[in-house]
Subunit: 99 residues, 5 copies
Amino acid sequence: MLLGKVAGTLVASRKEASLSGLKFLVLKQLDLEGNETGGYRVAADAVGAGIGEVVLYATGSAARQTEMTHERPCDGVIMAIVDLIEVDGAVTYDKSEVS
Amino acid sequence: MLLGKVAGTLVASRKEASLSGLKFLVLKQLDLEGNETGGYRVAADAVGAGIGEVVLYATGSAARQTEMTHERPCDGVIMAIVDLIEVDGAVTYDKSEVS
Amino acid sequence: MLLGKVAGTLVASRKEASLSGLKFLVLKQLDLEGNETGGYRVAADAVGAGIGEVVLYATGSAARQTEMTHERPCDGVIMAIVDLIEVDGAVTYDKSEVS
Amino acid sequence: MLLGKVAGTLVASRKEASLSGLKFLVLKQLDLEGNETGGYRVAADAVGAGIGEVVLYATGSAARQTEMTHERPCDGVIMAIVDLIEVDGAVTYDKSEVS
Amino acid sequence: MLLGKVAGTLVASRKEASLSGLKFLVLKQLDLEGNETGGYRVAADAVGAGIGEVVLYATGSAARQTEMTHERPCDGVIMAIVDLIEVDGAVTYDKSEVS
């Protein structure tokens, strides 16, 4: 899994039938220091993530292992909202301090 | 999923038998600002996308989760045509204004 | 899928039992302008491609969705021989003019 | 598989239901000389790895082939703790000497 | 598949239960000219490869399509030992001349 920040939304009215009802969010990829790497992903949202939240997302076939995305043509899913990251003994992200 | 612009078509008369009838489109990859990244993908079209349209495409095993591509040797599929992208509170792509 | 040019062959007498009979070809990756990118892939040949031909290849689990490669430890397959590529309204590759 | 060093932990209270109970560790990717490459992964821990340990991790669908991660939306798993690496005839990592 | 040279071994006593008995080899990735690219992979050995040999390895779910790796958390497998590579009409690797 990699870290991303929910940066936006994407609307697509014409799509593969099985995708209807799925919410797509735009993620900016983050490195371990919380900086944007320049990369992005559009991912289905399985956890009700909001704009600005730091999330964990899975890609590949793992992205279909949620009720919402099962057997759908989806290769990225937000599967967790991050509360706290601790790296090398220091807290590098604490959601309660950000919001 | 990543964003792409439909840039062209590809014809292949000799191909794996199960692929007959599948339409292949050439996609130029886009970044979040809508600029071409220099990368590309050839993808099966599951939604009837047209040249110039901005689309969402999935890769890997997800690309076989459409009726059209089920159990076929296909690792990329266009699964949605994008109407609107909003990033950091601003609309960065609006199909109705482009066309 | 990505574009490749069949650049050579590879012989391997000692291999996983299920691979016997599979033909491996060496592909040089191509960009949309038909230039070599410097990357390569060794892929199983599902279509009878010849040296110098421009082909479409699939990677990952898609590479096992052919009769030849089904349930074999193979992560790349040539699934189509390209006849024509048209990008941005211009023909960028036409097999009939090359050969 | 690639080599990583367990650098930290990640807490996520809101996550896909099937993930509850899974422990996520933050891995810094290592090259063959044991240097950090700058890349990272968040992976599920299937072996009880501790901070500072050098581990082997698998990505993609392989990450779901453990009891802990079976059919869960998880694309990275620590599946072994490394004791010894020998490259080009020299021991490049020996856990017993580090700890 | 990509080309690699078997550069070493890796010992891991604590690992996911299903992995016991699997031999892990350290591969240095090779380009088509036989030069090391700087990349590496740790892969399960399905063919009895020896140090210094040039091999073909598969990644992703393909790595589980051998008897040895079936349903194990393994994302890389050596599935063939290379005898001969011919690129652009010239032999670029011939095992019988190296050893």
